[in-house]
Symmetry: C2
Subunit: 222 residues, 2 copies
Amino acid sequence: MKTVLIKEDILSRNNERAKDVRDFLKKKNVCYVNLMSSPGAGKTTLLTKLIPALQKEFRIGVIEADIDSDKDALTIERATGVRTIQMHTGGACHITCQMSEEALEALGTDGLDAVFLENIGNLVCPAEFDTGADLNLVLLSVPEGDDKPLKYPLMFEVASAVAVTKLDVAPVFDFDREKAMNNIRKRNKNADVFFTCAATGEGVEELAEYLKNKIAKKIRVL
Amino acid sequence: MKTVLIKEDILSRNNERAKDVRDFLKKKNVCYVNLMSSPGAGKTTLLTKLIPALQKEFRIGVIEADIDSDKDALTIERATGVRTIQMHTGGACHITCQMSEEALEALGTDGLDAVFLENIGNLVCPAEFDTGADLNLVLLSVPEGDDKPLKYPLMFEVASAVAVTKLDVAPVFDFDREKAMNNIRKRNKNADVFFTCAATGEGVEELAEYLKNKIAKKIRVL
């Protein structure tokens, strides 16, 4: 019982802080996108494909969160040249809004139109913590299986959009697109769903268009 | 600071309870194996291949832990016929020792030689909570990438054994066996490492032999 109360307290303090982050980003005119998925679902690879499409119109920054290693930040930097920082969580399984705020400060939002946060690879905990992002982009990779929305409900409930990744290996893994779609819809009636493959480029343009609209909408409104 | 202290308190209470679970299982003469991995790394599928090999010599039980859905317990039951229960964590990202204890009670350990706990698919949090198991079998699936031990240190540090899974798709995913081995060794000098594929059967017999020895050792000692 005590643990639950502590958790609720932590979450409510986190949610309050998320409002502050949103206010700050509204003033700064920056769209903030939170990428979440299991480990190895392809967040970094998808970003290396999306950023070149977005860069034509917008100035992009990336925050790479990991428990350890700076491999992903180097990959993004080398592949795209955009402003990137690596954040280490010191063992933590998710990004709190405080971490998110500190990372945005460390990256610097001046001169940027959009910032992507690559959250810790974890299909559970990051979904509980509002990072102050404008939208949550959740990845579901084909090798994980089309049943994951059934087993990890909250992650798919908080998704603004879902990108199914690694679609080229669907036949090898007996991944059923329709089943995946039905399972996503059981958790979330409204999320935009994209079927993508970074290797072949399938669906990447559609997802980039979706993100362009979201970024433009955020920036234009202000 | 406060949060860290709470966490330490929770973990130390959990560790105390783990001793009780070990004492109980020692009396009951049951070997307890904790399977951990990312979502969709193949824990259930590997179990359906291992259990028939183990069943020839030992009486096996399975605890399936999920946030939601009872798909995995049904799969195990149908494929192997062994005593199985589905545990739902109500959103929790890991199995505490208390949950582990309650699940063992619900399953019933009488007449069993070994119990497998399939933990929540999560490469972070389950590693922090001792379940009272005799050994931690950690799975790393090829599609996740050979770099995961670098990014998720604790999981590989607490592993008694690591099973690399889905080895048949290694060429498709540019998965380097040697790199994976080096990265595992950076986190853990002693873990036994198995390269497996449930689809082709590669490495499954070796892993089954390893588990047979561990179960026999636990049972014979008592």
